[in-house]
């Protein structure tokens, strides 16, 4: 029993403990705080599984953005958000518990019964990587082998945002996200942080984007960081939230999927297939798509957090 084994066992135990605590927590806010800790612990698990790309995304999206979204929802629900006193009938609870146990046991069995070594396409993926000019096989999978999935993922992000916007009332459609009236002045400490942190955050985000071609990183992780910086500045009152009808904003939202789609369609002529890259141009094209994607991801994530428009357009 080595140190690494003991660490993994403690980590797995803590993840399960936090997960159980989220389920049984009686207060929404406490459950959300637990969920954020859960996301960060899960990121550590991905690091231990040698998947730093997934770990970065989990920390940024699972812990960060989803955490902020849930905190917002918890604040909105405050008052009527404790566990209801009326419980479902005992048979119903029994059936639900049994079904959950069966699903968990089936998943565990599937994972444990995988043939050894597990079936994998990793050698083929690594062998074909030089043709793309990339050094990070994960980026190769996302941007070349399974580019269609990545493209649809970006479109889904825009659709999700349209779903959030459609919650707006008729009068405020096309308006500005955020509560009615002037917000209270942000605390000085927050304003100070919002002045100091964004330059660092923007540099790190661009670094993550550039690094994504050869090392763990990429447009999604960088975009989440950019979104966080923008949200911080909006919270501190240093940047006004834009009206959702703003043309520049809408352009930023669609530039990622649009560039991706345009290069994908151009693939018909230059490389003979949708979303294929002509070989000598593969890497520059992929970096171009990633650069367009980071703008759209940042805008979409920040606006998802900002919520539906609540103030009428000026």
């Amino acid at each position: 029993m080595s140190v690494a084994w003991a660490f993994d066992a403690i980590l797995a135990g803590t993840v399960l403990g936090v997960a159980a605590w989220i389920v049984v927590a009686r207060e929404t806010f406490a459950a959300v705080a637990g969920f954020i800790a859960y996301g960060l612990l899960l990121a550590l698990v991905w690091v231990r599984l040698a998947a730093p790309d997934v770990a970065l995304t989990e920390a940024a999206i699972g812990g960060g953005v989803t955490g902020v979204l849930l905190l917002g929802a918890a604040a909105r629900l405050r008052g009527g958000a404790t566990v209801p006193d009326v419980w479902p009938a005992a048979p119903l609870r029994l059936v639900a518990g049994a079904l959950c146990t069966v699903i968990a046991a089936a998943l565990a069995a599937v994972v444990l019964l995988l043939p050894e070594p597990a079936p994998t396409l990793a050698p083929q993926a690594a062998a074909a990587l030089p043709a793309t000019g990339l050094g990070n096989p994960v980026t190769g999978v996302l941007m070349a082998y399974r580019a269609l999935d990545t493209l649809l993922e970006k479109v889904v992000l825009v659709l999700a945002l349209i779903g959030v916007w459609s919650l707006a009332q008729d009068a405020s459609w096309g308006g500005v996200p955020g509560p009615q009236g002037r917000a209270a002045r942000a605390p000085d400490a927050l304003v100070f942080l919002a002045r100091l942190l964004p330059p660092v955050g923007i540099v790190v985000a661009v670094y993550l984007l550039w690094l994504g071609a050869d090392e763990p990183g990429g447009a999604f992780q960088g975009g989440a960081l950019l979104a966080a910086m923008w949200i911080l500045m909006m919270m501190a009152g240093l940047a006004a939230s834009p009206a959702v009808s703003d043309r520049r904003l809408r352009l930023a939202l669609v530039v990622g999927p649009a560039v991706f789609l345009a290069i994908g369609l151009a693939g018909f002529f230059s490389a003979g297939a949708f979303l294929a890259y002509p070989e000598p141009w593969a890497k520059p094209l992929i970096v171009l798509v990633e650069a367009a994607k980071i703008v759209s991801v940042a805008a979409a994530l920040a606006l998802l957090v900002a919520g539906p428009p609540q103030r009428s357009p000026r």
């Binding site: 405050r78 605390p187 400490a189 927050l190 942080l193 100091l196 942190l197």
Partner: protein, 95 residues
């Protein structure tokens, strides 16, 4: 050998501050003292762990990254401490 000993001592001291900070977080009676315990763990504990790790990473890329991480945690930790303290001191029902 001496560097290994230095790393060991610094990281162990950092671990001690994290432990003490956690004990303080659990045992102290009100939000302000709990914040005090928490920020000590972040600032000193992480600083000592980074100090202990510095001789073990390549310089300057790895080492500078570690120092930047520590500085960022210092900045955000201090800010979050201020913000939580403001809410804790506000009269009225506790959120």
């Amino acid at each position: 050998m001496i560097l290994d000993l230095f790393s060991l001592l610094a990281i162990a001291a950092g671990g001690f501050f994290f432990l003490a900070g956690t004990v303080g977080l659990l045992r102290f009676p009100d939000p302000l003292t709990r914040l005090h315990a928490l920020t000590k763990a972040d600032n000193l504990g992480l600083g000592l762990v980074v100090l202990g790790l510095l001789p073990r990473v390549d310089w300057p890329q790895g080492g500078l990254k570690l120092i930047v991480v520590w500085l960022l945690v210092l900045l955000t930790g201090a800010t979050v401490g201020q913000l939580v303290a403001r809410v804790a001191q506000r009269p009225g029902p506790r959120p």
